[in-house]
Amino acid sequence: MVAREIGIRQSSKIPAIELESVSKCFRLYHDANYSLKEKVINFRKRGYDLFWALKGVDLTIFQGETLGIIGPNGSGKSTLLRMMTRIMSPNEGQIRTHGTIAALLELGAGFHPDLTGRENIYLNASILGFKRREIEGIIDEIVAFSELGPFIENQVKNYSSGMYVRLGFSIAINLNPDILLIDEVLAVGDESFQGKCLDRIARMQQEGKTIVLVTHDSDIAASVCDRVLWLEKGEEKMIGDPIEVTELYHEAMRMRPEGSEFGTRDIVINRVDILNSKGEAETEFETGEPLVLRINYSADDPVEDPVFGFGFYNQMGFMVYGTNTRLRGLDIAKVDGQGKMDFKISALPMLDGRYYISVAAHTRDGMVNYHWLDKLYYFDMHSPGKEEGFLTMECDIDLAPQ
């Protein structure tokens, strides 16, 4: 994701969204008691546990402000966003919103596969609460933004997932609501479209719109937001300056031993080896040394056209470097059974610090992850101490230039 510096904006002191000690409790059913029979049989037995997804959150989001919400999985970020959109109502406390809201909780929610892109624009916009009259004025803009061109007259079921996402984002962002709620959807789409979306968000910020952004990407949180809220187990852990909060957040996340992994496991990454120049496993590297990242994978059933990739992240969670087989133009027709693959880095340019490695296998369009090992591995970099910052560069110093 591209980081963008966005000028400081004047956020007013007029509230756009007010939350007063909001709490939300879910019933976690031991076994989904969806039928009447089970209800009758288990008449007195309480078949569920209570889970407080949010506990007494007080928050005022001002008009013209961009608020980022970060937090580990299950911290209540999405629940909070859903309550702002009124999809769910809180068990305790109050939520007041001022102005029209458009929410991007999932792109293209409510698209009907048998309708054309254009027909879906009208349908989707009316689901979001906008009138035909309002859409007619901006439909050309929506179509242009989506870059779908003539495909806009095709049925949505024939769209690629990328086209789907672009159309969904174009609709929500061009409706120009007073308040835009975004839930991690920026992470999809290609780089250039992401850039366009960020530009558009910047424009909305300049127009004084209120934006609430739930994200895992602290890069975005730090560069786009005016304030960042850090949620932890349903409670506010910290709120304030984006850089400060994201730094402390990552500090805390780093303390946690576990990374995470997910995916459909059609391809399983069994082991990742970090090897030095002699082909031995190593976790300490000097700046300028080579590194080989070996991915050992297996696929029980043949998988066609997969993409393998990796990324290095620094302690703040910023991606320092990443690439994959698609970006390098390498096509893997099919994988079947056991296999391995090397990513060879001839010279590591990073200076001191700990770097985390994410490794992934996914589909060509990136919509389905076969297996994603998120920051499960790390190595430490050491430098001779002749430079500062993150990276080494060729730099000659000429004390007496001609």
Partner: protein, 272 residues
């Protein structure tokens, strides 16, 4: 409640768009498109004519236009049955939307009612065309079609909102509805003439029989579209108190269904 109604009014465009979608999607990718709406009743008429008129020789029993009699009852019955069956699952089937977007959820069952109404109106128009084509005189009550339609829509709307909300919490409702509609069909004078009930059952049984609101609604439809001479004018078992009761029940159901729905809808997103 007033606020909720205002909200529904604000989202009226969504309701119309959803109805439009349902209608459009139904015939998308079919060569004949919405001509199917018209062909279906025509084929129904032919089948009934062959089955009852030629094979079972009901014609010999003096029921010359049995096919028309059947259609005048079956069309409004199918309207009720299909829109109810479609709307019961409407909220659950749109779980994607319900979890992701805010909008008044009652548009989901109502959109199915709307699209079924559209098809029903087309079919009723076709029935009238058939009647004219076969030179069957129209009843003097034909102008009451919109009024009876409104009554039936009211009845269905209340019931479908009630059932679709309940179905979110107990998925059994969907299956129950299917079975009940099947039994209900035989308890309503759709394919047999009401005279059958009048002539063969004691007065108390007839009274119980007429507690069924759909019996009144179907009889009204038969009366205003094709009043079979076989029924006779006095035969319908329709009475003013009975009709008033049906109207009152439909309105009560509508209010009750709407209130239940809006009370429960806050918890839909968690339960789906």
């Amino acid at each position: 409640m007033k606020e909720k109604l205002k909200r529904l009014f604000d989202y009226r465009e969504l309701l119309f768009n959803l109805i439009h979608k349902e209608v459009k999607v139904k015939y998308k990718n079919s060569f004949l498109g919405f001509v199917w709406s018209l062909i279906t009743p025509l084929m129904m008429l032919v089948v009934f004519y062959v089955a009852f008129g030629i094979i079972f020789k009901l014609r010999a029993m003096g029921m010359q236009f049995y096919a028309f009699f059947l259609m005048s009852g079956i069309l409004p019955w199918n309207f009720m049955a299909t829109s109810l069956l479609l709307s019961v699952g409407s909220v659950v089937n749109s779980s994607d939307l319900v979890k992701k977007v805010y909008f008044p959820r009652e548009v989901l069952p109502l959109s199915h009612l709307g699209s079924s109404s559209f098809h029903f109106i087309l079919q009723e128009l076709m029935l009238i065309v058939f009647l004219l084509a076969f030179r069957v005189p129209l009843t003097p009550w034909i102008f009451m079609v919109p009024v009876v339609m409104l009554l039936e829509v009211t009845f269905i709307a209340g019931l479908s909102m009630f059932l679709s909300a309940l179905n979110v919490f107990y998925r059994d409702v969907q299956h129950f509805t299917e079975i009940i509609i099947m039994a209900w069909f035989w308890m309503t004078p759709v394919i047999y003439p009401i005279a059958l009930i009048r002539d063969n059952f004691p007065a108390w049984a007839q009274r119980i029989y007429m507690l069924n609101p759909m019996a009144h609604i179907i009889l009204l439809w038969q009366r205003i579209t094709y009043n079979s001479p076989h029924n006779g004018t006095e035969a319908a078992l329709l009475s003013v108190p009975g009709l008033l009761g049906t109207i009152a029940l439909s309105i009560t159901l509508l209010v009750l269904g709407y209130v239940t729905f809006t009370r429960l809808e806050g918890r839909f997103a968690e339960f789906i």
